[in-house]
Amino acid sequence: MTTATDTTATGHADHHHGPEKGLMRWIKTTNHKDIGTLYLWFAFTMVLIGGAMAMVIRMELFQPGLQLVDPHFFNQMTTMHGLIMVFGAIMPAFVGLGNWLIPMMVGAPDMALPRMNNWSFWILPFAGGILLSTFFMEGGAPAFGWTFYAPLSTTFAPDSTDFFIFAVHLLGFSSIMGAINIIATVLNMRAPEMKLMDMPLFVWTWLITSFLLIGAMPVLAGAVTMMLTDRNFGTAFFDATGGGDPVMFQHIFWFFGHPEVYIMILPAFGVVSHIIPTFARKPLFGYSSMVYATASIAFLSYIVWAHHMFLTGMPVAGELYFMYATMMIAVPTGVKVFNWIATMWKGSMTFETPMLWAISFVFLFTIGGFSGLMLGIAPADIQYHDTYFVVAHFHYVLVTGALWSIIAATFYWLPKWTGKMYNEGLAKVHFWWAVISVNVLFFPQHFLGLAGMPRRIPDYALQFADFNMISSIGGFAFGASFILFTYIIIDAIRNGEPATKRPWEGAKGLEWTLDPKAEYHSFNKPPSRKLIEQESQNS
């Protein structure tokens, strides 16, 4: 990047000036902190929209019978809820965290490709807008599940599906550009004195995640393009009457889809690996094994996809292979959990809000890991597949996993972002409210699934009534917790006590050497070797 670019970006020739005033600051910005903020607010909005859809779903499922919506609209709700949470909330939130934190953590002044950074963000609102606009089209929004299996998503889908395909393409562009930017930043913009094995774990996990994104998103783009041509140009990739195969769609989808679930959890592992050492006041146990475990999970995530397809009629040899490969993932995942606990062991722990979220992450994510292991056992999956047991599993890993780490990260780094502290008392109330309600919401779903309730149904038999009602009540309570969360964040930004440079006693990392509210342009001079060593997690 030339100086000329930087000049237009900030509107000044002088780097040390602050941001432009007004709305144009946000539209034209190439500053990683501004873009990080934009991503985070976007993701937050999407959580609320996707959450509102979840409320509709839980209201309809509150008791047997159809009270609120018709089945077709119900399917639109589940589909859009899934798509928005995955592509609109979790992924952009992690990119936002990456934008804010990675340059500060590697001692770089900004992302390597700031212009592209601006573009990868600004694609998102358009993609999201296109996706949401399908609700107002004839035939309604996509109603074929976030996994959009053909031929329900091709021959039998509403016309709005072509807009869905376009939106997925845009989201894919945005993710790939974000990933390229992170790889370039970590590899080229890292402080010259910083070796790879000095990098904080959040940077490591994001670097590895970026390679997953670059490998997986083009496959998704391929899948939706084949759908597009099947729908509009007479091809028959997924249509048996034309010599195609609908099961091939599932192979392609899950070849993207399984890496995708790790895209949503690896950065979470990174976040937790920062918070636990801080509040245990003890170095991370096994820094290098954490790095290797992350890399092996990423590799394995490419070779287990068909564990989502045990019932499609795969040959036994295939089922055996995918069962064994899936079980293997439990090993590096276990290594991570053991390392976190070994980090807490004999520490000197305090339980500020970020730590509460991190500890409950370890506990609840591991529950999701256990159910994942059970699902991976191919014969048992016959009874679990496509039931509420699966719904419970992936909400334990995604909500109390991925989302939990995002909330933990928000409380942990908010002082550095805003220069203000949040209200610790209220934040603790919020934590307990959320952690209790989320379990009331999702734990009974294990029972529902085992008792035989299929997923993606708007109405159910009478024996499922009690647990559904409990789950819905938990859902409403969990939904309401976001009102408090919003209040705490806005209150902190507006009225928070000023923060210190290093608000957490045991925190390590280059970001904590910056001003209480990180300067608009940080690390214009790269940090020294001495500083890097002092702040390294691998010491």
């Binding site: 047997p64 959990v337 606990i341 016959i382």
Partner: protein, 366 residues
């Protein structure tokens, strides 16, 4: 209020032990060797997970309570231990291998469909199941029962087996090794009866198989387990498992009914006969998309009222219903008489003014 009391009693019930059976907390053991093997495997893995959880979470919570600053704990500074890392890599691998052995055995057993005594072909349709007994020459469609359809919007009056009842049960003999051939006519469905341990995708254009030998006489219920569109939640499965003698009787009886239907397709029907028969065929097969009053759900599902097809040439109407078009499924699995009746009904109900169609017209159009 009533719901609230049941809710409270559930919460109380959760604390007592015999609640397991009542509220269905766990997987069913089922009535086939496969379902029992799966159940055992499920319980084995479950208890292994519980044991690991007790150790891991025990250590974590012990640490949370014992190693806190407020208790004066001073942080140790140890980290990195190759020995520990090796230990917690190797031990899980051993446990996983021990889990994989029984899992592989069950998997290989249940995929072996070579030992079947009889075959049933199952075809998924949006949103009903078709059952064919190839050797016996029996074929029928199984729809969600009218009692369930009627009470979807009526919360005060839910029938027993709400959403788990159909108009025609699949009938199978006990103690017989049965092979299921499963396919679909439109989108992907999944035929699942938990008590049999059988759950298999029904893929359009391909045939999957599964097998079961059912040990106990009884009625077993299941549901479609793959999102298949609007009424995915409304296409249950009900199987009556009967003694071999009762099964033989049922087969003879069904064959007689099929013969009578074939005979009636050869006669000429009066318009009122066709309309009466047609209304019931329409309500079971067509009303889910075109609505009972013929208003449809435009733009996806066109109205029958004033439809150009229903008021146009009979050949086009017959052709469309026989072969389907886009989202409109084929109905060639219905008998000639039923098809003639439903087409006549569509052409003359809802204020339409089409002609009468006879079974022989349908027969020659096939």
């Amino acid at each position: 209020m009533k719901r609230l009391t049941t809710l409270l009693s559930t919460l109380v019930g959760l604390m007592s032990t015999n609640v397991f059976a009542e509220y269905g907390l766990n997987m069913t053991e089922g009535v086939t060797s496969i379902s029992r093997d799966i159940y055992d495997l499920h319980m084995l893995i479950f208890w292994i997970c519980v044991a690991i959880a007790v150790l891991v979470f025990g250590a974590m919570f012990y640490s949370v309570f014992a190693h806190r600053k407020s208790k004066g704990a001073v942080a140790a500074q140890f980290h990195e231990s190759t020995k520990a890392e090796l230990l917690w890599t190797v031990i899980p691998i051993i446990i996983l291998v021990l889990m994989a052995i029984p899992a592989s055995r069950v998997l290989i057993d249940l995929e072996d469909t070579s030992k079947a005594d009889m075959t049933i072909k199952i075809t998924g349709h949006q949103w009903k199941w078709q059952y064919d007994y190839p050797t016996e020459g029996i074929s029928f469609i199984s729809n969600l029962a009218q009692s369930s359809k009627d009470s979807v919007n009526d919360d005060s009056n839910k029938p027993e087996n709400y959403l788990l009842e159909v108009d025609k049960h699949l009938v199978l003999p006990v103690d017989t090794s049965i092979r299921f051939l499963i396919t679909s006519n439109d989108v992907i469905h999944n035929w699942w009866v938990p008590d049999f341990g059988v759950k298999q995708d029904a893929n359009p254009g391909f045939i999957n198989d599964a097998w079961a030998q059912i040990d106990e006489i009884g009625t077993y219920r299941g549901q479609c387990a793959e999102l298949c569109g609007k009424d995915h939640g409304f296409m249950p499965i009900v199987v009556d498992v009967v003694s071999k003698a009762d099964y033989a009787k049922w087969v003879t009886n069904q064959q007689a009914i099929a013969k009578a239907a074939a005979d009636s397709a050869n006669k000429t029907w009066s318009k009122s006969e066709l309309m009466a028969q047609g209304e019931s065929v329409y309500n079971t097969n067509c009303a889910s998309c075109h609505k009972k009053d013929g208003s449809g759900m435009p733009p996806i599902f066109p109205a029958m009222k004033a439809s150009p097809v229903a008021n146009g040439a009979p050949a086009d109407h017959i052709g469309l219903v026989l072969h389907g078009k886009g989202g409109m499924p084929t109905f060639k699995m219905l008998g000639d008489a039923d098809l003639a009746a439903v087409i006549t009904y569509e052409r003359n109900a809802f204020g339409n003014t089409g002609s009468v169609v006879q079974p022989s017209d349908v027969k020659s159009a096939r």
